[in-house]
Symmetry: C2
Subunit: 199 residues, 2 copies
């Protein structure tokens, strides 16, 4: 039996990016399936009263060091995006839309966006930078614009975000293994244990 | 050469309690010295704009599960105190005072308080419960009352709290190895690495 880990994430969250880099290996090692759950972190914050850690300046400064430490431990590139935090509504509609309409391109899309967020940072809140990023990854900007304007896509992102909040999510990344919830990329070892116990 | 880890903590913080249970072994394994730095977490919050995670209800619920998971991993008892959070001003003045005036009894005091906070929980905001806890641990409540009213003791707690804030502390527990700061009992592995690298 293969266990499933649900991964609720937003492309604006650097900790979600770090988790994203680790999930393929974790899934392979535990023979688990990843259920990708793109949600809007801003919507989660609004619904729960939570805020970004960077709103407390001292916490934001420490978080930067901490994220770099984890990236070194994982052996993955990481640059804090100078445009951070950005409004990720369009980007996350894109993720929800790819998953609905072009499932085979979903992972490639998220990967391209994460690289432009935290590996070679661009300001993806800027339309030109987004268009360039999409083109380089082989996506048609016109088709993308239509996708993120699709009411069903918008509704899907809202529904996933509301589902997350209803299940207790207050930040990103959040993982579920069955009913067990784990918050933070720094809880991947607990996720691993839960997946191994579930198989 | 022996490295030193500074441990900034408040007895009201359940994550600080978990770190407290792990530090003796960590120090032994890394041949490090622990510099105990009692501070007032409420003062840190006020100075930095940070707040207790329990102020976001969904985060507070998850944190309870998370603390129990860590306690199981560490193999230590843990009960969330039903009186949590409490005002720890008197308790932390006690810690600062023991360290100043009765250094040989400092660890025994903190241990007794942590056990009454998170092992067999009592409401230590209640004067009778505090007196009973002190008596059972062999402390004279009258001497304790004089200690926590001592202006030099009060000043020491303020000074340590201000020093912490000045060095970037925004929560508890926080560890320093030299200039490197680590926040959270879930960063003890990074503390261990820093101590090993420093020797």
């Amino acid at each position: 039996m293969s266990a499933t880990v649900e991964f609720f994430f937003d492309v604006g969250s650097p900790a979600s990016y770090l988790a994203w880099t680790q999930l393929p290996r974790l899934a392979a090692e535990t023979k688990a399936t990843v259920a990708w759950r793109p949600m809007l972190l801003g919507g989660v914050f609004k619904a729960t009263g939570n805020t970004s850690p960077v709103n407390v300046p001292a916490k934001g400064r420490w978080m930067t060091d901490d994220l770099h430490r984890w990236a070194r431990r994982y052996g993955v590139p990481f640059s804090l995006n100078p445009s951070f935090p950005i409004n990720t509504l369009t980007l996350m509609r894109g993720a929800a839309g790819m998953q609905m309409r072009h499932a085979d391109r979903f992972l490639g899309y998220v990967d391209a966006i994460y690289r432009a967020m935290f590996e070679s940072p661009r300001n993806l809140g800027d339309a030109d930078a987004l268009v360039a990023t999409l083109r380089e990854a082989g996506f048609d900007p016109g088709e993308f614009a239509a996708l993120v304007a699709d009411p069903e896509v918008k509704a899907r992102l809202i529904a996933t975000t509301e589902e997350a909040v209803g299940r207790g999510v207050f930040g990103a990344p959040t993982f579920f293994v069955g009913e067990q919830m784990f918050f933070g990329q720094d809880r991947l070892e607990f996720v691993r244990e839960a997946l191994l116990a579930a198989t």
